[in-house]
């Protein structure tokens, strides 16, 4: 009978000792990668033995590109039948399909990643692996690569089959090399986003079912992004934007990897064992954060019975719970500040390309502020949208316009249309403006509820920004918060271009902006922090707890600081700003 002990074991303890010590030295990058590849090889081999993964990959690699080829040819023939320029269509439309052809197999990487991470947790096959000397980073890299390789290879093959069909088929279209590279890069980073995102998702669950339900958090924004990319792809002169999208996605990957490496550790993987919503725990975390009780204070209370501090008055609460949040907002505030300045600069830059026709007398296209406000007061919640008017089609086809002209027209056309007003159209004469401002002041004095309208609008926008920000890692909220500054940049750029005195406009902004801008900046930073917290490395809190605490901070500071500031800003905007502008005009600015 063979023995279970190695013949050398008892005699040569030194050998064992030197073997164990070989794990002591920190691994070189190559050793780390090499160890990670042991995991990758096993996982890939395992995936390739599962027909549920292989069948869709094969179908998407071979059948879908062939179908896409046939569909592309059919579309182009159809449009050519109606007199469209076939060549232009080929250039615009055909590059769109390889991107789609590549995306479908890549979307499977999400499924594989969830299976690789959560499936192993669910089957408990991860524990023997965690008992080995492999480092967390090696395990993480190995599994990420394993989830990416098969779908990516399928995507590359699919793109190859599709392009092969185009080159050899009816269209005889040869895409530019850079276009192919661009599509491959986009496909790769999309796969990386989905897989690295899946790791973050997997940390929040122990069942594949729950992970699949959570996967919508990734698949929905990615699908939307692919639609946006498609819209860009069909415009050959805009395709450079896709590089920026690729760069943006890479940043998201870096953020997810940062979080993933932190999450993918033995403690997190085995420490969690429930998927159910623990309402009691959620409520306690929210309440703790609202009261300003830190996780350390809670832990000290639980483990050592140290009493939890409390805030007897609202001033204590501000001091203990609200103001300390500001220390956490340093980086988000800087990011929002940079976004605002960047957007202002972009607005200014656009004003040099798309110049507003300010020298011309605006016909009936300017909004009459007073009328709009009056209308707003008549509607519930003060929400009023100016109606769109559709211009009748010209009888004769106009001369084609340049892009610049089309954009300038679009800007003018996009202005809210006036309500049927009897008053004379708005003009660039100080007298008319002064008259209108006086009307506005009287109207505002008689209707202080306008403050509510302005406040309601600002709150509505910030609430929408919060929801969209939480769904988009803070990207959409930052855009929403910074966009008005882009418009300001555009307006001031135009004023500058037409040598129009900007002081009344600056006064108009500053009079209430001095309060409103800090409020918006703060709100933007709070939303950004809550949205990005899942990508932030934390050594103490789980993703769920960090997220709950950041959202509570957002609501808390939103109610305690941002809302009062917005009330003050709305009051100033209704009651002070018209006076200030009038004053600026009267003293001859």
């Amino acid at each position: 009978m063979s023995t279970i002990t190695s013949p050398s074991h008892s005699q040569i303890d030194e050998k064992q000792s030197s073997y164990v010590k070989s794990f002591a030295a920190s691994n070189s990058m190559w050793q780390t990668f090499s160890n990670a590849l042991i995991i990758t090889r096993r996982e890939v081999r395992d995936s390739l033995r599962d027909w549920r993964i292989i069948v869709p990959i094969v179908l998407l690699t071979l059948c879908f590109p062939a179908l896409a080829n046939a569909a592309s040819a059919a579309f182009i023939n159809l449009f050519e039948g109606y007199g469209a320029d076939g060549r232009a269509l080929v250039e615009s439309f055909l590059p769109l399909m390889p991107m789609i052809v590549g995306f479908f197999p890549v979307s499977i990487s999400l499924v594989i990643a969830l299976e690789t991470f959560v499936g192993e947790k669910e089957r408990r096959s991860i524990e023997p692996l965690l008992s080995t000397p492999l480092t967390n980073t090696e395990l993480y890299i190995g599994k990420v690569l394993a989830a990416m390789f098969p779908p990516l290879i399928a995507a590359y093959l699919g793109i190859g089959v599709y392009l092969g069909g185009l080159i050899l088929g009816e269209q005889q279209w040869r895409p530019a090399l850079m276009l192919v590279v661009q599509i491959l890069v986009l496909t790769t980073v999309q796969a990386a986003v989905m897989v690295t995102g899946a790791v973050v998702i997997s940390s929040q669950t122990t069942s594949t079912r729950a992970a699949n339900l959570l996967a919508s958090v990734i698949i929905i924004p990615m699908s939307m992004l692919v639609i946006v990319e498609s819209l860009i792809m069909v415009q050959p002169n805009r395709r450079f934007v896709l590089w920026w999208i690729a760069v943006g996605l890479m940043i998201v990957v870096v953020l997810f990897v940062r979080r993933g490496v932190r999450i993918f550790n033995r403690e997190e993987l085995l420490g969690r064992s429930v998927d159910q919503i623990n309402l009691q725990w959620i409520f306690r975390v929210i309440l703790d954060q609202w009261r300003g009780i830190t996780p350390q204070e809670r832990e000290a209370f639980v483990h050592r019975g140290v009493p939890i501090p409390h805030s007897p008055t609202i001033f204590h609460w501000y001091k203990r719970s609200v103001f300390p949040v500001f220390a956490e907002l340093r980086h988000p505030l800087m990011a929002i500040g940079v976004a605002i300045m960047g957007m202002f600069a972009v607005g200014w830059y656009l004003s040099t390309i798309y110049v507003l026709p300010l020298e011309r007398k605006p016909p009936t296209t300017e909004i009459h502020v007073l009328e709009a406000w009056q209308k707003a007061l008549e509607t519930p919640f003060g929400y009023y949208e100016t109606p769109l008017e559709v211009a009748p089609l010209p009888e004769k086809a106009p001369e084609p316009l340049s892009v610049k002209e089309r954009f300038s027209q679009a800007i003018v056309a996009a202005q809210p249309k006036p309500i049927e007003v009897e008053s004379p159209p708005w003009q660039f004469s100080d007298e008319t403006l002064l008259e209108q401002l006086q009307e506005l002041q009287e109207f505002a004095s008689d209707n202080p509820q306008l403050i509510g309208v302005v406040l309601g609008q600002n709150v509505r926008v910030l609430l929408a920004a919060a929801v969209l920000g939480l769904l988009s890692l803070g990207v959409l909220s930052t855009i929403i918060v910074a966009l008005p500054f882009g418009i300001l940049g555009y307006i001031f750029g135009n004023l500058f271009a037409h040598s129009i005195n900007p002081i009344p406009f600056i006064v108009a902004v500053i009079a209430h902006g001095v309060v409103e801008i800090p409020a918006i900046l703060l709100a933007g930073a709070l939303i950004l922090r809550a949205s990005m917290i899942i990508t932030k490395s934390s050594t103490e809190l789980t993703v769920g707890e960090a997220w709950l605490r950041a959202i509570t901070d957002m609501v808390k500071v939103g109610i305690a600081v941002v809302f009062p500031l917005l009330v003050v800003a709305a009051t100033l905007e209704v009651l002070l700003t018209p006076h200030a502008v009038e004053w600026a005009l009267q003293i001859g600015f």
Binding site: S10, V20, S22, A24, R123, S131, T132, H303
Partner: protein
Amino acid sequence: MIEARGLTKYFGEFLAVDNITFAVEPGTVFAILGPNGAGKTTTIRMLTSILTPTSGTAIVAGYDVVKHPAQVRASVGVLTEQHGLYERMKGLEYLDFFGRVYRLPTEIRLKRSRELMERFGLGDALNRRVSEYSKGMKQKLALVRSLLHDPPVLLLDEPTSAMDPQSARLVRDAIVELKYDRRTIILTTHNLTEAQELSNQIAVIRRGRIIAQGDIDTLSQRFVGPPLMELRTVQPLNGFTDELTQLVKIREVYADRVLYETHTPAETNPIIVRHLMNAGIDILTLSRVSQTLEEIYLNIVEEDEKGQGTTV
């Protein structure tokens, strides 16, 4: 070889392991007994450097579980509570994968894999997919995996669960062999007969706390009481039991049989034998009634429930 001092683990607010202390020497099997959820698996995971203790320290094979996790994991062979095998792999492939992870040279990992599979009766299943293995075969494959890198320390969580009696015997023999090879072994099990057979030291853990610790004799003495003796005679005992009452505590009396407790059997039994001979009663047998670990365990748990449990 394994030394745990004040090992404590919290999951959030839940106290899973509460300040446990023990030491296991090489060539010793240390059995950890306790109900489900008592903290046995969490203890094993801390000793494998999978979970970090909230407080306390543990040294395994000379390495601190917090400071040198890689060395600890390289020194330890772990059989997890659930075997966690990759079902789509073949037996040999599976071992080859773990051999690579443990950085074993190709020749050694193939040799060890074949030898161990042969030793545990899996020689014919080397190239079969794990999904085709029976429950017991899977358990044995998992055990082979834990032995593959020839570790000096073994942490075995329920090693014979799901095995047929023949396979379980094979595994128990292997554990004894490893014990005599001076490996340090920690065993968790619900099979008290197995624990009694294999272990030198026992710890009973409940609600994360060690409520009793020691060898079986010590635990038996403490929690079950003094040794119980059974005396069988050829002739009826008649009035001799009154005389016996003055010497020992009698538990049960029959016509030709009596069960009694004595703290000092070496001193008491010869006296009783002399008295019987003088009384002309022939002795058929005089033996110690063996107390099972189950009895000891149940008494320990019962005492702990009454709030009298103490660490030995």
